[in-house]
């Protein structure tokens, strides 16, 4: 399966590339061994994600999912952003080749990690509460899913 036109658009002209200085939350997922790392920066005001930027090391699909998922959570509340599923990202792109589906999972996880970081810095929530609310995966779970295997 080839990349859709929308995927091509997003890896050619990705939206929201960059870094936010003094970000409210930063999340990084993936690892260089697999060839995919996503780092997301969010700026939160009154519970709304007012700005989001990303940096991604990875293939065309990784760049495209980073780009479109940042578009999809911009202007959303934290709770709405946490609702974003990897399948929503795939649908918005008009599909992804099966071997690239793990890129969309990474995008979802990067958003969750950034929000978790925001909670840690700005609320008194315990780590367990954050983990539950943001559906964070343990280090072991990440490793067992390394490279989307």
């Amino acid at each position: 399966m080839e990349y859709t036109e929308k995927v091509v658009h997003h890896y050619t002209n990705p939206h929201n590339v960059g870094k936010i200085e003094n970000a409210s939350g930063v999340g990084e997922v993936g690892n260089p061994v697999c060839g995919d790392i996503m780092k997301m920066y969010i700026k939160v005001e009154n519970n709304v994600i007012v700005d989001v930027k990303f940096k991604t090391f990875g293939c065309g699909a990784a760049i495209a999912t980073s780009s479109i998922s940042t578009d999809m959570i911009k202007g959303k509340t934290i709770e709405e952003a946490l609702e974003l599923k990897n399948t929503d990202v795939v649908n918005e792109l008009g599909g992804l080749p099966p071997v690239k589906l793990h890129c969309s999972v990474l995008a979802e996880e990067a958003i969750h990690e950034a929000i978790a970081d925001y909670y840690r810095k700005n609320t008194k929530m315990t780590e367990d509460e954050i983990k539950k609310k943001c559906k964070l995966k343990s280090k072991e779970e990440h490793e067992s899913e390394a490279c989307g295997k």
């Binding site: 890896y11 990705p14 260089p32 061994v33 060839g35 790392i37 780092k39 940096k55 090391f57 990875g58």
Partner: protein, 394 residues
């Protein structure tokens, strides 16, 4: 937008003269070469002329050349054929970690059938560890299969030395020479090569046709059973047009060999020199000297190869990468891992392979495009960001 083709290790454009030589065999000369009437007899003659041309280049007898469907079939026939036919003598095969999948997967298949296989490592430049090869030789070893030239990093293996070792130990020696034929002079007698695979589309011939040299007297089983074609060693009505094309292509390749190699080496060297000058934090993969003239393999640190290829493609540039994303698997190239590259650097590799139709203008366009794309992808990369920050804090 014009296509700018830098993937000549993957395949090449068919030479116009080759195409011209092939065309009559699709239309007026369509006879089956196994028939006795003129239409068939003439095609038999064309096949045998092509066989002579291949034999002359390799310095063997025409009766030692078998036409196949290409490199993969030649590798399969040589390895399985020799392994099966010599099983009473032993069940051990030696190969390397950096072979083409046509060899590696064939060996894996044989392992499942009870054969034992030793996979020899290479040094950081991709040159075979000869001492390890010698240590792995057993009384049961029947076959050594080592590629002549690696398809990804272009490294030329010490074939003469391996041939000598094989001969001394009474072991058959097969080499996958798919990336060597067309750029290197090969004398199978002088190099003690017992079996050799080649493929026409790597040297401006058509796809779907290759040849296998197997020295006379070496027992090997058929891969394809059926009719009596190819002296009953490879069944199937001959691909006459393909065979004629292969013959013409190998003849042209070796008539123009020095000129061709000089040209592609100049383009390759210019490319590498310019990349080194204009793009920081790169790694040149493979041996600088012992490599074929058209090949270059460079890792651009902090970026991933598929992103690079997609952006090059948008500019009409064709190249390839050892990144996992382009291999259809999730691991980067086994060759780049075997030479000791960390995964993240292997993911960022770019293979550029020059061919006779490339021009200096095209290489300049490639370099300018790369400078821009690498810089853009690095600006997007968290690895680059971390690296720059750590440099600033030093």
């Amino acid at each position: 937008m014009n296509t700018v083709y830098f993937d000549n290790s993957a395949t090449t454009r068919v030479d116009d003269e080759v195409l011209k030589a092939m065309l009559p065999y699709f239309s007026e000369s369509y006879g089956n070469a196994s028939t006795i009437y003129k239409l068939g007899r003439e095609n038999r003659k064309a096949i045998e002329e092509a066989r002579e041309k291949v034999a002359k280049i390799l310095n063997c007898d025409a009766s030692e050349i078998y036409f196949t469907s290409g490199g993969s079939e030649s590798d399969n026939t040589a390895i399985k054929g020799i392994a099966y036919a010599n099983r009473k003598k032993g069940n051990h095969i030696i190969t390397s970690k950096i072979e083409h999948p046509a060899v590696l997967d064939t060996c894996k298949k044989l392992e499942k059938e009870g054969f034992e296989v030793s996979y020899i490592g290479v040094d950081e430049n991709g040159i075979l560890d000869i001492e390890e090869l010698k240590r792995e030789i057993r009384p049961t070893t029947t076959l050594i299969s080592i590629m002549f030239v690696n398809n990804e990093i272009g490294t030329i293996q010490p074939i003469e030395e391996i041939g000598k070792i094989a001969k001394e130990n009474n072991i058959y020696f097969h080499t996958d020479a798919v990336q060597a034929v067309g750029t290197l002079r090969i004398d199978v007698k002088a190099l003690n090569i017992d079996a050799l695979s080649l493929s026409a589309h790597k040297f401006y011939g058509p796809k779907g046709i290759g040849a296998l040299y197997i020295r006379r007297g070496i027992p090997f089983d058929n891969l394809i059973n059926g009719g009596h074609q190819e002296r009953s060693k490879r069944a199937g009505t001959e691909n006459v047009a393909g065979i004629v094309g292969l013959g013409k292509a190998i003849e042209i390749a070796y008539n123009d060999l020095d000129e061709h190699c000089k040209k592609i080496k100049e383009l390759r060297d210019y490319y590498v020199e310019q990349v080194e000058k204009r793009i920081p934090y790169i790694k040149i993969n493979g041996d600088r000297e012992r490599r074929v003239p058209g090949n270059s393999n460079i890792s651009f640190r902090f970026i991933e190869g598929e992103g690079l290829l997609l952006n090059l493609d948008l500019k009409g540039i064709c190249a390839s990468s050892g990144s996992a994303c382009t291999s259809g698997s999730l691991d980067p190239s086994h060759v780049l891992l075997a030479i000791g590259l960390p995964h993240e650097i292997a993911h960022g590799s770019l293979r550029i392979s020059m061919g006779k139709y490339n021009t200096k203008e095209e290489v300049d366009y490639l370099i300018d495009s790369l400078v821009e794309i690498v810089s853009r992808l690095r600006d997007m990369s968290p690895l680059w960001e971390e690296f720059i920050e750590s440099e600033e804090n030093k």
